[in-house]
Each structure stands twice: as C-alpha cells, then as structure tokens.
Symmetry: none
C-alpha cells in the first residue's frame, strides 16, 4: 500500500467513525505505530485532522461537535432512526429536519434507496452525498449556527416552493402538556412551515426528549401524524397515548 493511499484511508476512517486509534490502525495495516503517528502528524499539520492522545479525530469542528452530541443516547437514536427510515417508500419525497436524530435516519437509509430528500440542514445534505439514487434538494437561507440549519424569511420562502409525502420533525422536547418544543423561535417557525409542506409529519423522539419541554412550541401534539420512539416503555409515552396521540411503535 502506497503511503499516500494510506493517508486517504486514514481520512476515510476518520470520517466514517469519527475517530481513529493509532495502535489499532498499525495492527490493521501491518505497519508500525510510528508510521501511523507520522501520518496523523502530517494530516494534522495539513489541517485535515486533530491529534488526540491515542489517535486522532476529524478536523472539522462541526463534525466533531456532532460526534459528541451523537454520543447522547446513541442506541435510542439509532432505534428511532431505523423505524423512521423504514417508513420511507421508494420513490417518495421526504423532508428531513436538522439534528443528530435525523442524521441517524440518513445513516439508516439503504445506500441505493430511490427517493427525494428535501432538507434545510447542510449536514444532512452532506451526509446524503454517498447515496447515488437520492435526489437532494437543499433549502437555502441564513444559517442558524446552533443547530446548523437554515432559518428565517428566505428559508421559509424556499420551503413554500416544495411539497412532500413525509416530514421527519426533530424537536428538543415532547411533553403531554406543552406539546412539541424547541429552543429557538425562528427554528420553531421553520419547523412549522415544513410541517405544512408535507402530507404526514412524524416526530423523532429519542428517549431523552420524552417528557422534556423547551421555550418555543413548534406544534401541539394533535397536529402531527405520529411520534416515533425507541419502543421502550415510558411514562410520558403512556400519558401521550392516553391523550389519543399516535405513538410508534405501539406500546404493549
């Protein structure tokens, strides 16, 4: 294996896994740790990664930040994402909200799925690049840094030009009384707009969201088609179903 090839490989692994361990790579590639360390040192000098004790992480702080947030309840997120991905019919059009849970949905999509994805999240768009059959439409506008999605008048206007079968809504709180909430007013408005452009809206609710509430309401509970959870019994879920809200999967 050429040295240059090896470095490409390191970058690929970094992107795919969010981190690499020098020792493991040395064993995997059958070369000394010194060489791996030298590679990582050079890549770091080129601004392509950051060294950490034991290995390296991707350079892009945006991705690293996401990697950290992805460590919150990863199993729950993954289960929710898998259930959401299964709802996407081949040939259909789906709007994907921003956030780590929707990012997990993209990762749960079959590589060859034939569908149209509309999103206001550059991160989601970038994650869909390796899906050759997926048509991606990005809604432009001012970038709201906190959640890395476009918001504001321009984004809302762009959203009015589209229509979809499904919308997967990400929120920070799902509460029996306060409904579906998030931390920013502009963002809430954008999510509301997107919900209006899709025939069906499903909320992605990983465990830590259930029972939580944030400052701004996106929608009341009754205005979404259903809430997708990870299926583990939960008192908030019980309260929701008690109020007639559709929760997937149906609790036992």
């Amino acid at each position: 294996m050429l040295a240059a090839e090896r470095r490409d490989y390191l970058l690929t692994r970094l992107r795919a896994e969010g981190s690499v361990v020098a020792k493991d790579l040395a064993a995997e590639l059958g070369i000394s740790e010194d060489s791996i360390r030298r590679d990582l040192r050079d890549l770091a000098a080129a601004g392509l990664c950051h060294r950490v004790y034991g290995g390296a992480v991707p350079a892009s702080p945006a991705l690293a930040d996401y990697a950290n947030r992805e460590s919150v309840e990863p199993d729950s997120k993954r289960r929710v994402a898998a259930r959401a991905a299964a709802l996407i019919q081949p040939g259909s059009t789906v709007i994907l909200d921003g956030g780590t849970t929707t990012l997990a949905v993209v990762q749960a999509l079959p590589a060859e799925l034939d569908c149209t994805v509309i999103t206001h999240s550059p991160t989601i768009a970038a994650a869909l690049v390796p899906h050759p059959r997926a048509e991606v439409f990005l809604l432009g506008g001012r970038l709201f840094k906190h959640s890395a999605v476009t918001c504001g008048a321009a984004a809302a206007e762009a959203a009015h030009g589209v229509a979809a079968d499904l919308f997967f809504l990400g929120v920070t709180g799902v509460h029996p009384v306060h409904g579906l909430t998030t931390g920013d007013a502009d963002e809430a408005a954008m999510k509301r707009t997107l919900a209006g452009r899709a025939a069906d809206t499903y909320v992605l609710a990983s465990t830590e969201k259930l029972g939580a509430a944030s400052r701004y309401q996106v929608l009341p509970l009754g205005e979404v088609t259903g809430i997708i959870t990870d299926g583990t019994p939960n008192e908030t879920v019980a309260a929701l179903t008690g109020k007639g809200v559709a929760v997937l999967p149906r609790q036992v």
Copy 2:
C-alpha cells in the same frame, strides 16, 4: 509494446485501481522502473495523474472521490487558502465556492472574523458553524452530488438575490489557452453566475490545477480579478503573467 501504448495502459490501470506502483508495473511489463517513472512523470506533467512516493494516483480530482481529494497537494492548498483568507476584510461579504480548497480557506479564517459568507456548498456552511461572528447564507437548490454543491435553476435564482465584495472561485483547471475550466456544465454555469454577483473574483489555484484543463469553461482568464497560487515558480504561471493575468503572489 509501444511507449504510447504503455502510457495508455498506465492510465487505464490508474482509473481501474485508483493507484499504480512503479515497481510492480516494471515487473509486470518487463521494463525498468526508470521508464515507468519517466512515463508517470510525463503523465503528471500533462495533468493526467499525480505522482506519489512509490507510484502515482489519478490526477483528475473529478474522478477521485471527494474524500480522496483532500489529500491532494495539501501544502499547496493550505498556502493558497491562507493567502485567500488574508484578502477577506472584516465586515465584508464573500462568496465561497465549493471544493476542498475553499474548505481550506474556511479553516484558515480567524475564528472571530466578522464577515458574511455566501455559499452554495453545504460542506462549507457546516464548516463555518464554529465561527460565531460569521454570518452564513446558504444558497439552496438541487444538490449536485459530485462536488457537493447546489446547482441548477433554483440555485441560480437564489444567487441572483445576493451581492458580495469577493468571490473565491474553485476550478479543476487553470490553463493559459483554455482558461478556467471545470468538469460539469451546470456547475460551470453556477460558478459563472456567482462570479457575476461579486465585485471581485479570485481563482484558487493550488499547484495541481495549473496547466490542467477540463471539459467546460467557467470563464476566460481575463474576466477574473486575479489568480491565487501558492507562490512557487511554475511555467504555467509564467505563461499567465506573460498574458497579462494578475497572479498572486507576484512571481519573482
């Protein structure tokens, strides 16, 4: 075997396997490594491949995937990016093209720089999330997977609504005769539109771009404010300056 035949064969292998090893090829074809190296040197000079220690990899960043491109000439890219970043005045508005070189520009920006960035690249937008003072405006549209930027009618329309002081243009070829070129017609049109929205347009030309040419012309050389290089002497640069093209930094 004819020399010309052999070179075709090298290119075929490069395309098929993503890399070639000089030693292996010499053994395989029954000729000396020197000849292989000479071939690879010539192919590299013609912009058809890139030499790496031990062999060569395909040149056309168009053929290699996005991840691999980041490791092409990282030093040159970084120098070009640093020079470009230095041109951005605090408070100004700049349009950033997609691509790995412009991504390097973002990484070269001071974290606290106060400016407005307009881009049609979700990757660039995501990379700007950690810059709290940078206002980011994302141009929406259909995502062109190959270079991970938005293209097409919607993107062009969105671009017409903006105006900027600077545009940093990324291309795949900078050639004294063929001008500034890229590998896709839609993308070329989008780049041209963006150039029309900025007072000044600078081309980011890392070493491997100089002297190369792709299928579609973005602009003739005379229609940009200047070309930013990494400052190492280069015959293409000499030819460009001879034609009156502004090249930064000025060669000695």
